[in-house]
Protein backbone atom coordinates (compact mmCIF):
# COMPACT_ATOMS: atom_id res chain seq x y z
CA UNK A 1 0.00 0.00 0.00
CA UNK A 2 0.98 3.60 -0.58
CA UNK A 3 1.93 4.63 2.90
CA UNK A 4 4.64 2.44 4.30
CA UNK A 5 7.00 4.00 6.81
CA UNK A 6 9.53 4.94 4.13
CA UNK A 7 6.88 6.87 2.23
CA UNK A 8 5.96 8.72 5.43
CA UNK A 9 9.57 9.68 6.10
CA UNK A 10 10.12 10.77 2.49
CA UNK A 11 6.91 12.83 2.39
CA UNK A 12 7.58 14.37 5.80
CA UNK A 13 10.94 15.57 4.56
CA UNK A 14 9.40 17.04 1.38
CA UNK A 15 6.89 18.85 3.62
CA UNK A 16 9.68 19.97 5.98
CA UNK A 17 8.15 18.32 9.02
CA UNK A 18 10.62 16.77 11.50
CA UNK A 19 8.49 13.77 12.33
CA UNK A 20 10.12 11.81 15.18
CA UNK A 21 10.70 8.11 14.39
CA UNK A 22 8.36 6.98 17.20
CA UNK A 23 5.44 8.76 15.49
CA UNK A 24 6.06 7.27 12.05
CA UNK A 25 4.14 3.96 12.47
CA UNK A 26 0.98 5.65 13.77
CA UNK A 27 1.10 8.34 11.09
CA UNK A 28 1.65 5.69 8.42
CA UNK A 29 -1.46 3.81 9.49
CA UNK A 30 -3.60 6.98 9.58
CA UNK A 31 -2.38 8.11 6.18
CA UNK A 32 -3.04 4.68 4.79
CA UNK A 33 -6.65 4.94 5.97
CA UNK A 34 -7.01 8.33 4.30
CA UNK A 35 -5.44 7.07 1.08
CA UNK A 36 -7.78 4.07 1.02
CA UNK A 37 -10.67 6.51 1.32
CA UNK A 38 -9.51 8.43 -1.76
CA UNK A 39 -8.52 5.29 -3.65
CA UNK A 40 -12.15 4.86 -4.82
CA UNK A 41 -11.63 7.79 -7.21
CA UNK A 42 -9.55 5.60 -9.51
CA UNK A 43 -12.64 3.53 -10.39
CA UNK A 44 -14.64 6.54 -11.64
CA UNK A 45 -14.63 6.89 -15.45
CA UNK A 46 -13.35 10.40 -16.27
CA UNK A 47 -12.06 10.05 -19.82
CA UNK A 48 -12.54 13.29 -21.68
CA UNK A 49 -13.76 15.17 -18.57
CA UNK A 50 -12.07 18.53 -18.20
CA UNK A 51 -10.54 19.11 -14.78
CA UNK A 52 -12.33 21.92 -12.93
CA UNK A 53 -10.12 24.88 -12.18
CA UNK A 54 -12.62 27.49 -10.98
CA UNK A 55 -16.29 27.06 -10.02
CA UNK A 56 -17.41 29.85 -12.33
CA UNK A 57 -14.69 29.35 -14.93
CA UNK A 58 -13.49 32.89 -14.39
CA UNK A 59 -10.17 33.90 -15.84
CA UNK A 60 -7.48 35.52 -13.73
CA UNK A 61 -7.94 39.28 -13.83
CA UNK A 62 -5.00 41.48 -14.74
CA UNK A 63 -4.22 44.81 -13.17
CA UNK A 64 -2.07 47.76 -14.13
CA UNK A 65 1.60 47.20 -13.39
CA UNK A 66 1.81 50.01 -10.87
CA UNK A 67 3.28 50.21 -7.40
CA UNK A 68 0.38 50.01 -4.97
CA UNK A 69 2.08 48.72 -1.80
CA UNK A 70 3.39 51.04 0.86
CA UNK A 71 6.64 50.54 2.70
CA UNK A 72 5.50 48.86 5.91
CA UNK A 73 8.72 47.12 6.84
CA UNK A 74 8.52 47.93 10.54
CA UNK A 75 4.93 46.84 10.94
CA UNK A 76 5.41 43.69 8.89
CA UNK A 77 8.50 42.66 10.84
CA UNK A 78 6.99 43.20 14.26
CA UNK A 79 5.86 39.56 14.51
CA UNK A 80 9.21 38.10 13.38
CA UNK A 81 10.88 35.78 15.89
CA UNK A 82 14.36 37.21 15.31
CA UNK A 83 15.55 40.29 13.41
CA UNK A 84 18.61 42.52 13.18
CA UNK A 85 19.04 45.79 11.29
CA UNK A 86 15.66 45.32 9.61
CA UNK A 87 16.52 41.81 8.37
CA UNK A 88 15.16 38.39 9.35
CA UNK A 89 17.75 36.37 11.25
CA UNK A 90 18.30 32.70 10.33
CA UNK A 91 21.01 30.20 11.28
CA UNK A 92 24.22 30.48 9.32
CA UNK A 93 23.84 29.02 5.82
CA UNK A 94 27.36 29.74 4.47
CA UNK A 95 30.44 28.79 6.48
Amino acid sequence: MAFDQDAVRRTAHLARLALPQEEVPAVASQLEKIMSLVEELSAIPTEGILPMAHPLDLEQPLRQDQVSNHDERQRLMASAPATEHGLFLVPKVIE
Binding site: A15, V27, P51, M52, L56
Partner: protein, 490 residues
Protein backbone atom coordinates in the same frame (compact mmCIF):
# COMPACT_ATOMS: atom_id res chain seq x y z
CA UNK B 1 -36.31 38.98 27.06
CA UNK B 2 -32.69 39.94 27.75
CA UNK B 3 -30.46 41.96 25.45
CA UNK B 4 -28.43 38.88 24.58
CA UNK B 5 -31.55 37.26 23.09
CA UNK B 6 -32.34 40.22 20.81
CA UNK B 7 -32.08 39.94 17.05
CA UNK B 8 -30.06 42.50 15.11
CA UNK B 9 -33.27 44.26 14.10
CA UNK B 10 -34.43 44.47 17.71
CA UNK B 11 -31.03 45.70 18.85
CA UNK B 12 -31.00 48.32 16.13
CA UNK B 13 -34.46 49.56 17.12
CA UNK B 14 -33.35 49.72 20.75
CA UNK B 15 -30.28 51.77 19.81
CA UNK B 16 -32.28 54.12 17.57
CA UNK B 17 -34.91 54.71 20.25
CA UNK B 18 -32.15 55.12 22.88
CA UNK B 19 -33.61 52.35 25.02
CA UNK B 20 -29.96 51.52 25.59
CA UNK B 21 -26.65 52.80 24.27
CA UNK B 22 -24.07 50.89 22.24
CA UNK B 23 -21.79 51.09 25.27
CA UNK B 24 -24.43 49.56 27.56
CA UNK B 25 -25.06 46.82 25.03
CA UNK B 26 -21.34 46.14 24.68
CA UNK B 27 -20.83 46.01 28.46
CA UNK B 28 -23.80 43.70 28.83
CA UNK B 29 -22.38 41.19 26.37
CA UNK B 30 -18.80 41.49 27.65
CA UNK B 31 -20.12 40.59 31.09
CA UNK B 32 -21.89 37.56 29.65
CA UNK B 33 -18.69 36.54 27.86
CA UNK B 34 -16.70 36.77 31.10
CA UNK B 35 -19.30 34.62 32.86
CA UNK B 36 -19.83 31.91 30.25
CA UNK B 37 -16.64 31.76 28.20
CA UNK B 38 -14.47 29.95 30.79
CA UNK B 39 -16.68 26.90 30.25
CA UNK B 40 -17.50 27.28 26.55
CA UNK B 41 -14.04 28.44 25.37
CA UNK B 42 -15.65 30.10 22.35
CA UNK B 43 -13.48 33.24 22.47
CA UNK B 44 -9.69 33.06 22.26
CA UNK B 45 -9.28 36.84 22.51
CA UNK B 46 -11.70 39.35 24.05
CA UNK B 47 -10.97 42.89 22.85
CA UNK B 48 -12.69 44.65 25.72
CA UNK B 49 -10.97 48.06 25.59
CA UNK B 50 -11.20 48.39 21.81
CA UNK B 51 -14.85 47.26 21.90
CA UNK B 52 -15.77 49.92 24.45
CA UNK B 53 -13.97 52.57 22.37
CA UNK B 54 -15.77 51.63 19.17
CA UNK B 55 -19.07 51.48 21.07
CA UNK B 56 -18.43 55.03 22.29
CA UNK B 57 -17.74 56.14 18.72
CA UNK B 58 -20.95 54.43 17.60
CA UNK B 59 -22.89 56.23 20.33
CA UNK B 60 -21.49 59.56 19.06
CA UNK B 61 -22.60 58.74 15.53
CA UNK B 62 -26.03 57.63 16.76
CA UNK B 63 -26.38 60.85 18.75
CA UNK B 64 -25.70 62.80 15.54
CA UNK B 65 -28.65 61.03 13.97
CA UNK B 66 -26.74 58.51 11.85
CA UNK B 67 -28.73 55.37 11.18
CA UNK B 68 -26.44 52.79 9.59
CA UNK B 69 -28.00 49.33 9.46
CA UNK B 70 -25.33 47.77 11.67
CA UNK B 71 -24.08 50.86 13.52
CA UNK B 72 -23.24 50.05 17.16
CA UNK B 73 -24.20 46.38 16.86
CA UNK B 74 -21.87 43.81 18.45
CA UNK B 75 -20.18 40.93 16.61
CA UNK B 76 -17.07 38.76 16.72
CA UNK B 77 -14.76 37.33 14.07
CA UNK B 78 -13.56 33.80 13.60
CA UNK B 79 -9.85 33.96 14.43
CA UNK B 80 -8.96 33.22 10.80
CA UNK B 81 -9.68 36.82 9.75
CA UNK B 82 -6.71 39.16 10.17
CA UNK B 83 -7.40 42.06 12.52
CA UNK B 84 -4.79 44.84 12.57
CA UNK B 85 -3.21 45.22 16.00
CA UNK B 86 -5.11 42.25 17.45
CA UNK B 87 -3.74 38.68 17.67
CA UNK B 88 -4.85 36.40 14.82
CA UNK B 89 -3.99 32.81 15.73
CA UNK B 90 -6.00 30.62 13.36
CA UNK B 91 -6.25 28.23 16.30
CA UNK B 92 -2.57 27.34 15.94
CA UNK B 93 0.56 27.38 18.04
CA UNK B 94 2.22 28.45 14.79
CA UNK B 95 0.49 31.85 15.00
CA UNK B 96 0.22 32.10 18.78
CA UNK B 97 2.16 35.37 18.82
CA UNK B 98 1.07 36.73 15.45
CA UNK B 99 -0.43 40.20 15.46
CA UNK B 100 -1.78 40.91 12.01
CA UNK B 101 -0.25 44.02 10.42
CA UNK B 102 -3.43 44.63 8.40
CA UNK B 103 -7.14 43.81 8.51
CA UNK B 104 -9.07 41.47 6.24
CA UNK B 105 -11.46 43.14 3.80
CA UNK B 106 -14.38 41.56 5.69
CA UNK B 107 -13.10 43.05 8.96
CA UNK B 108 -12.67 46.48 7.36
CA UNK B 109 -16.14 46.43 5.83
CA UNK B 110 -17.94 45.54 9.06
CA UNK B 111 -15.87 48.03 11.07
CA UNK B 112 -16.68 50.76 8.54
CA UNK B 113 -20.39 50.09 9.17
CA UNK B 114 -19.76 50.88 12.83
CA UNK B 115 -20.07 47.35 14.15
CA UNK B 116 -18.42 46.69 17.48
CA UNK B 117 -16.01 43.73 17.50
CA UNK B 118 -15.98 42.00 20.89
CA UNK B 119 -13.13 39.62 20.07
CA UNK B 120 -11.84 36.64 18.13
CA UNK B 121 -13.45 33.23 18.11
CA UNK B 122 -11.93 29.80 18.62
CA UNK B 123 -11.70 27.38 15.69
CA UNK B 124 -10.12 24.15 14.56
CA UNK B 125 -6.44 24.72 13.78
CA UNK B 126 -6.18 26.34 10.32
CA UNK B 127 -9.89 25.47 9.90
CA UNK B 128 -9.05 21.76 9.64
CA UNK B 129 -11.55 19.84 11.71
CA UNK B 130 -15.21 19.15 12.31
CA UNK B 131 -15.34 19.28 16.10
CA UNK B 132 -13.19 22.22 17.21
CA UNK B 133 -10.94 19.79 19.04
CA UNK B 134 -7.86 20.49 16.89
CA UNK B 135 -7.54 24.06 18.25
CA UNK B 136 -4.27 24.79 20.04
CA UNK B 137 -6.40 26.72 22.54
CA UNK B 138 -8.49 23.73 23.53
CA UNK B 139 -11.90 22.51 22.40
CA UNK B 140 -15.04 24.64 22.33
CA UNK B 141 -18.04 23.14 24.13
CA UNK B 142 -21.55 22.93 22.73
CA UNK B 143 -23.87 25.28 24.66
CA UNK B 144 -26.73 22.75 24.39
CA UNK B 145 -24.70 20.08 26.15
CA UNK B 146 -21.15 20.84 27.23
CA UNK B 147 -20.07 17.22 26.93
CA UNK B 148 -20.66 17.52 23.20
CA UNK B 149 -18.63 19.15 20.43
CA UNK B 150 -19.97 22.32 18.76
CA UNK B 151 -18.84 21.15 15.33
CA UNK B 152 -16.12 22.80 13.33
CA UNK B 153 -14.18 24.43 12.12
CA UNK B 154 -16.18 27.59 13.00
CA UNK B 155 -17.15 26.03 16.35
CA UNK B 156 -16.31 29.11 18.41
CA UNK B 157 -18.53 31.24 16.17
CA UNK B 158 -21.44 28.78 16.39
CA UNK B 159 -21.16 28.32 20.17
CA UNK B 160 -20.83 32.08 20.80
CA UNK B 161 -23.95 32.84 18.77
CA UNK B 162 -25.96 29.95 20.27
CA UNK B 163 -24.98 30.98 23.80
CA UNK B 164 -25.93 34.62 23.21
CA UNK B 165 -22.38 35.94 23.63
CA UNK B 166 -22.82 37.78 20.34
CA UNK B 167 -25.86 38.08 18.06
CA UNK B 168 -23.80 37.40 14.91
CA UNK B 169 -20.36 36.17 13.97
CA UNK B 170 -18.27 35.57 10.88
CA UNK B 171 -17.21 32.09 9.87
CA UNK B 172 -15.49 30.38 6.99
CA UNK B 173 -16.51 27.25 5.14
CA UNK B 174 -14.13 25.04 3.13
CA UNK B 175 -16.00 21.73 3.42
CA UNK B 176 -18.85 22.56 5.79
CA UNK B 177 -17.14 24.67 8.45
CA UNK B 178 -20.02 27.16 8.73
CA UNK B 179 -22.97 24.84 8.13
CA UNK B 180 -21.93 21.83 10.22
CA UNK B 181 -21.31 23.79 13.46
CA UNK B 182 -24.42 25.88 12.77
CA UNK B 183 -26.42 22.62 12.62
CA UNK B 184 -24.82 21.17 15.74
CA UNK B 185 -25.38 24.38 17.74
CA UNK B 186 -28.91 25.12 16.52
CA UNK B 187 -28.19 28.35 14.66
CA UNK B 188 -28.38 29.59 11.06
CA UNK B 189 -25.27 29.87 8.92
CA UNK B 190 -24.68 30.60 5.25
CA UNK B 191 -21.75 29.77 2.99
CA UNK B 192 -22.16 32.12 0.03
CA UNK B 193 -21.37 31.48 -3.63
CA UNK B 194 -17.61 31.14 -4.13
CA UNK B 195 -16.19 34.56 -4.95
CA UNK B 196 -18.83 36.62 -3.17
CA UNK B 197 -16.98 37.36 0.05
CA UNK B 198 -13.40 38.56 -0.23
CA UNK B 199 -10.70 36.16 0.94
CA UNK B 200 -8.20 39.01 1.38
CA UNK B 201 -6.82 38.75 4.91
CA UNK B 202 -8.61 35.46 5.53
CA UNK B 203 -5.87 32.93 6.29
CA UNK B 204 -5.89 30.43 3.45
CA UNK B 205 -6.61 26.72 3.90
CA UNK B 206 -7.78 25.54 0.45
CA UNK B 207 -8.09 28.62 -1.71
CA UNK B 208 -10.41 27.19 -4.37
CA UNK B 209 -12.90 26.10 -1.68
CA UNK B 210 -12.57 28.66 1.16
CA UNK B 211 -15.43 31.11 1.52
CA UNK B 212 -16.33 33.49 4.33
CA UNK B 213 -19.92 33.76 5.50
CA UNK B 214 -22.34 34.72 8.24
CA UNK B 215 -23.62 32.92 11.36
CA UNK B 216 -26.57 34.13 13.41
CA UNK B 217 -29.68 32.92 15.20
CA UNK B 218 -31.94 33.74 12.25
CA UNK B 219 -31.75 33.94 8.48
CA UNK B 220 -32.69 37.61 8.63
CA UNK B 221 -29.67 38.37 10.85
CA UNK B 222 -27.44 36.35 8.52
CA UNK B 223 -28.76 38.44 5.63
CA UNK B 224 -28.12 41.71 7.45
CA UNK B 225 -24.51 40.75 8.19
CA UNK B 226 -23.76 39.09 4.85
CA UNK B 227 -25.24 42.01 2.94
CA UNK B 228 -22.28 44.11 4.09
CA UNK B 229 -19.71 41.35 3.56
CA UNK B 230 -20.43 40.68 -0.13
CA UNK B 231 -18.49 42.93 -2.49
CA UNK B 232 -16.02 42.71 -5.33
CA UNK B 233 -12.49 43.08 -3.99
CA UNK B 234 -9.62 43.73 -6.39
CA UNK B 235 -7.24 42.48 -3.67
CA UNK B 236 -8.66 38.95 -4.02
CA UNK B 237 -8.04 37.61 -7.54
CA UNK B 238 -10.94 35.12 -7.22
CA UNK B 239 -13.42 37.76 -6.05
CA UNK B 240 -16.35 37.84 -8.45
CA UNK B 241 -16.99 41.11 -10.33
CA UNK B 242 -20.73 40.68 -9.59
CA UNK B 243 -20.22 39.77 -5.93
CA UNK B 244 -22.26 42.65 -4.48
CA UNK B 245 -26.03 42.49 -4.39
CA UNK B 246 -28.92 43.43 -2.13
CA UNK B 247 -29.61 40.28 -0.14
CA UNK B 248 -32.44 41.89 1.86
CA UNK B 249 -34.69 42.93 -0.99
CA UNK B 250 -36.27 39.53 -1.62
CA UNK B 251 -36.25 38.26 1.95
CA UNK B 252 -40.04 38.29 2.34
CA UNK B 253 -41.02 36.72 -1.00
CA UNK B 254 -43.66 34.01 -0.47
CA UNK B 255 -42.69 30.42 -1.23
CA UNK B 256 -45.61 29.68 -3.58
CA UNK B 257 -44.33 27.80 -6.60
CA UNK B 258 -40.83 27.26 -5.19
CA UNK B 259 -39.42 24.06 -6.70
CA UNK B 260 -37.62 22.02 -4.05
CA UNK B 261 -35.45 19.01 -4.92
CA UNK B 262 -34.71 16.32 -2.38
CA UNK B 263 -31.61 14.26 -3.31
CA UNK B 264 -31.97 10.52 -2.72
CA UNK B 265 -28.24 10.32 -1.97
CA UNK B 266 -28.72 12.43 1.19
CA UNK B 267 -31.14 10.01 2.82
CA UNK B 268 -29.25 6.74 2.55
CA UNK B 269 -27.25 4.61 4.91
CA UNK B 270 -25.52 6.37 7.80
CA UNK B 271 -28.20 9.01 8.37
CA UNK B 272 -29.40 9.18 11.97
CA UNK B 273 -33.18 8.41 12.06
CA UNK B 274 -33.97 11.39 14.31
CA UNK B 275 -32.14 13.71 11.90
CA UNK B 276 -33.95 12.15 8.93
CA UNK B 277 -37.33 12.63 10.60
CA UNK B 278 -36.71 16.27 11.56
CA UNK B 279 -35.46 17.16 8.07
CA UNK B 280 -38.46 15.40 6.50
CA UNK B 281 -40.73 17.47 8.75
CA UNK B 282 -38.86 20.58 7.57
CA UNK B 283 -39.46 19.63 3.94
CA UNK B 284 -43.17 19.03 4.73
CA UNK B 285 -43.29 22.52 6.25
CA UNK B 286 -41.88 24.03 3.03
CA UNK B 287 -44.57 22.14 1.09
CA UNK B 288 -47.20 23.54 3.46
CA UNK B 289 -45.92 27.02 2.65
CA UNK B 290 -46.44 26.48 -1.06
CA UNK B 291 -43.30 24.75 -2.32
CA UNK B 292 -43.54 21.79 -4.67
CA UNK B 293 -41.29 18.89 -3.66
CA UNK B 294 -39.64 16.45 -6.04
CA UNK B 295 -37.03 13.74 -5.71
CA UNK B 296 -33.75 14.34 -7.53
CA UNK B 297 -30.44 12.55 -8.02
CA UNK B 298 -26.90 13.76 -7.37
CA UNK B 299 -25.15 10.56 -8.44
CA UNK B 300 -21.60 11.79 -7.89
CA UNK B 301 -22.24 13.15 -4.41
CA UNK B 302 -20.92 9.95 -2.76
CA UNK B 303 -17.50 10.78 -4.27
CA UNK B 304 -17.37 14.24 -2.71
CA UNK B 305 -15.49 13.26 0.47
CA UNK B 306 -12.72 11.42 -1.38
CA UNK B 307 -12.40 14.20 -3.96
CA UNK B 308 -12.15 16.74 -1.17
CA UNK B 309 -9.47 14.78 0.71
CA UNK B 310 -7.22 14.99 -2.32
CA UNK B 311 -7.86 18.61 -3.29
CA UNK B 312 -8.11 20.32 0.10
CA UNK B 313 -4.89 18.79 1.52
CA UNK B 314 -3.11 19.50 -1.78
CA UNK B 315 -4.02 23.17 -1.61
CA UNK B 316 -3.31 23.26 2.13
CA UNK B 317 0.17 21.79 1.75
CA UNK B 318 0.97 24.57 -0.69
CA UNK B 319 -0.68 27.38 1.30
CA UNK B 320 0.87 26.31 4.60
CA UNK B 321 4.39 26.16 3.18
CA UNK B 322 4.64 29.87 4.02
CA UNK B 323 4.87 29.04 7.73
CA UNK B 324 8.62 28.60 7.93
CA UNK B 325 9.65 29.81 11.38
CA UNK B 326 11.48 32.80 9.93
CA UNK B 327 9.13 35.70 9.33
CA UNK B 328 6.10 35.74 11.64
CA UNK B 329 5.48 32.28 13.03
CA UNK B 330 6.52 29.93 15.78
CA UNK B 331 10.29 29.34 15.68
CA UNK B 332 11.91 26.29 17.18
CA UNK B 333 14.86 26.80 19.46
CA UNK B 334 16.19 23.40 18.37
CA UNK B 335 17.20 24.19 14.80
CA UNK B 336 20.95 24.45 14.18
CA UNK B 337 20.91 24.73 10.40
CA UNK B 338 18.36 26.57 8.27
CA UNK B 339 16.83 23.27 7.16
CA UNK B 340 16.57 22.13 10.80
CA UNK B 341 14.88 25.40 11.63
CA UNK B 342 12.19 24.75 9.01
CA UNK B 343 11.76 21.09 9.95
CA UNK B 344 11.56 21.65 13.70
CA UNK B 345 9.52 24.86 13.64
CA UNK B 346 6.90 23.31 11.39
CA UNK B 347 6.73 20.10 13.39
CA UNK B 348 6.34 22.01 16.66
CA UNK B 349 4.06 24.74 15.30
CA UNK B 350 1.46 22.53 13.59
CA UNK B 351 -0.84 20.14 15.44
CA UNK B 352 -1.33 16.49 14.49
CA UNK B 353 -4.33 16.98 12.16
CA UNK B 354 -2.71 19.84 10.24
CA UNK B 355 0.49 17.81 9.86
CA UNK B 356 -1.57 14.87 8.59
CA UNK B 357 -3.23 16.98 5.92
CA UNK B 358 0.06 18.57 4.87
CA UNK B 359 1.48 15.06 4.44
CA UNK B 360 -1.48 13.89 2.37
CA UNK B 361 -1.30 17.02 0.23
CA UNK B 362 2.45 16.77 -0.25
CA UNK B 363 2.08 13.11 -1.20
CA UNK B 364 -0.67 13.57 -3.81
CA UNK B 365 1.27 16.42 -5.43
CA UNK B 366 4.61 14.64 -5.40
CA UNK B 367 6.33 13.45 -8.57
CA UNK B 368 4.57 10.54 -10.23
CA UNK B 369 1.26 10.85 -8.35
CA UNK B 370 -0.18 14.10 -9.69
CA UNK B 371 -2.27 12.54 -12.47
CA UNK B 372 -3.55 9.67 -10.35
CA UNK B 373 -4.78 11.87 -7.53
CA UNK B 374 -4.92 15.62 -8.13
CA UNK B 375 -5.89 15.63 -11.80
CA UNK B 376 -8.34 12.78 -11.24
CA UNK B 377 -9.96 14.61 -8.34
CA UNK B 378 -10.31 17.80 -10.40
CA UNK B 379 -12.10 15.74 -13.07
CA UNK B 380 -14.46 14.18 -10.53
CA UNK B 381 -15.02 17.70 -9.22
CA UNK B 382 -16.31 18.61 -12.69
CA UNK B 383 -18.74 15.68 -12.51
CA UNK B 384 -19.99 16.84 -9.09
CA UNK B 385 -20.58 20.33 -10.47
CA UNK B 386 -22.41 18.85 -13.48
CA UNK B 387 -24.79 17.02 -11.09
CA UNK B 388 -25.78 20.35 -9.55
CA UNK B 389 -26.13 22.02 -12.96
CA UNK B 390 -28.53 19.32 -14.08
CA UNK B 391 -30.49 19.52 -10.82
CA UNK B 392 -30.85 23.29 -10.94
CA UNK B 393 -32.38 23.06 -14.39
CA UNK B 394 -35.36 21.42 -12.66
CA UNK B 395 -35.47 22.85 -9.15
CA UNK B 396 -34.75 26.18 -7.41
CA UNK B 397 -33.48 24.83 -4.11
CA UNK B 398 -32.08 21.47 -2.98
CA UNK B 399 -32.94 20.46 0.58
CA UNK B 400 -31.45 17.76 2.81
CA UNK B 401 -29.78 17.19 6.16
CA UNK B 402 -26.71 19.29 7.00
CA UNK B 403 -25.04 16.50 8.96
CA UNK B 404 -25.56 12.73 9.24
CA UNK B 405 -25.94 12.94 13.02
CA UNK B 406 -26.37 15.53 15.79
CA UNK B 407 -23.50 16.75 17.99
CA UNK B 408 -21.23 13.92 19.14
CA UNK B 409 -19.27 13.62 22.39
CA UNK B 410 -15.90 15.31 22.83
CA UNK B 411 -13.20 12.78 21.96
CA UNK B 412 -15.57 10.38 20.19
CA UNK B 413 -13.96 10.61 16.74
CA UNK B 414 -10.36 11.49 17.59
CA UNK B 415 -8.86 8.04 17.13
CA UNK B 416 -9.90 7.70 13.49
CA UNK B 417 -9.48 10.75 11.23
CA UNK B 418 -11.65 9.23 8.50
CA UNK B 419 -14.66 8.93 10.85
CA UNK B 420 -14.29 12.66 11.55
CA UNK B 421 -14.09 13.44 7.81
CA UNK B 422 -17.44 11.71 7.27
CA UNK B 423 -19.13 14.31 9.51
CA UNK B 424 -19.01 16.54 6.41
CA UNK B 425 -20.47 14.02 3.98
CA UNK B 426 -23.44 16.26 3.04
CA UNK B 427 -21.66 19.61 3.04
CA UNK B 428 -18.52 19.03 0.97
CA UNK B 429 -20.01 18.77 -2.54
CA UNK B 430 -21.27 22.36 -2.23
CA UNK B 431 -17.73 23.68 -1.75
CA UNK B 432 -16.39 21.59 -4.61
CA UNK B 433 -19.04 23.08 -6.92
CA UNK B 434 -18.76 26.58 -5.45
CA UNK B 435 -22.52 27.01 -4.99
CA UNK B 436 -24.14 28.67 -1.93
CA UNK B 437 -25.72 26.71 0.92
CA UNK B 438 -27.29 27.46 4.27
CA UNK B 439 -28.05 25.46 7.40
CA UNK B 440 -30.98 26.29 9.66
CA UNK B 441 -32.43 24.60 12.74
CA UNK B 442 -35.37 22.26 12.04
CA UNK B 443 -35.85 20.29 15.27
CA UNK B 444 -34.26 18.57 18.24
CA UNK B 445 -33.32 15.02 19.15
CA UNK B 446 -34.99 13.30 22.08
CA UNK B 447 -31.97 14.22 24.18
CA UNK B 448 -32.30 17.90 23.32
CA UNK B 449 -29.61 18.35 20.66
CA UNK B 450 -30.34 20.64 17.70
CA UNK B 451 -30.79 19.31 14.15
CA UNK B 452 -29.93 21.26 11.02
CA UNK B 453 -31.54 21.32 7.59
CA UNK B 454 -29.46 22.33 4.60
CA UNK B 455 -30.64 24.46 1.67
CA UNK B 456 -28.47 24.51 -1.45
CA UNK B 457 -28.90 26.92 -4.34
CA UNK B 458 -27.52 27.66 -7.78
CA UNK B 459 -24.69 30.15 -8.26
CA UNK B 460 -25.67 33.57 -6.87
CA UNK B 461 -28.92 32.24 -5.39
CA UNK B 462 -27.69 33.30 -1.91
CA UNK B 463 -30.64 35.68 -1.65
CA UNK B 464 -33.10 32.89 -2.48
CA UNK B 465 -31.67 30.64 0.26
CA UNK B 466 -31.98 33.46 2.80
CA UNK B 467 -35.51 34.13 1.57
CA UNK B 468 -36.59 30.48 1.93
CA UNK B 469 -34.98 30.19 5.38
CA UNK B 470 -36.54 33.46 6.51
CA UNK B 471 -40.03 32.45 5.41
CA UNK B 472 -39.59 29.08 7.10
CA UNK B 473 -38.57 30.87 10.31
CA UNK B 474 -41.68 33.06 10.09
CA UNK B 475 -43.81 29.91 10.42
CA UNK B 476 -41.65 27.85 12.81
CA UNK B 477 -39.89 28.59 16.07
CA UNK B 478 -36.92 26.17 16.14
CA UNK B 479 -34.57 29.14 15.72
CA UNK B 480 -36.03 30.80 18.82
CA UNK B 481 -35.10 27.96 21.18
CA UNK B 482 -32.19 28.81 23.49
CA UNK B 483 -29.85 26.55 25.46
CA UNK B 484 -30.24 26.67 29.22
CA UNK B 485 -26.99 28.27 30.36
CA UNK B 486 -26.14 29.39 33.83
CA UNK B 487 -22.74 30.55 34.97
CA UNK B 488 -20.88 27.83 36.81
CA UNK B 489 -22.95 25.01 35.41
CA UNK B 490 -22.71 26.03 31.77
Amino acid sequence: MDLHDFSLRQLREGLQKRDFSAQELTKNLLKRIHTLNPELNAFVTVTEAAALESAARADDRLAKGESGTLLGLPMAHKDIFCTAGVPTTCGSKMLKNFVAPYSATVVERLAAEGMVMLGKLNMDEFAMGSSNETSYFGPVRNPWNTKMVPGGSSGGSAAAVAAGLVPVATGTDTGGSIRQPAALCGITGIKPTYGRVSRYGMIAFASSLDQGGAMARSAEDCALLLNVMVAHDPRDSTSHPAAASDLLRGLDRPLQGLRVGVPEEFFGEGLDPEVAAAVQAGIDQLAKQGASIQSIRLPNNPHAVSTYYVLAPAEASSNLSRFDGVRYTHRSSAGESLDDLYLQSRYEGFGAEVRRRILVGTYVLSAGYYDAYYLKAQQVRSLIREDFRRAFAEVDVIVGPTTPEPAFALGAKNADPVSMYLADIYTIAVNLAGIPALSLPCGFTGSGLPIGMQLMGDYFADDLLLNVAHRYQQETDWHLARPNLKAGEA
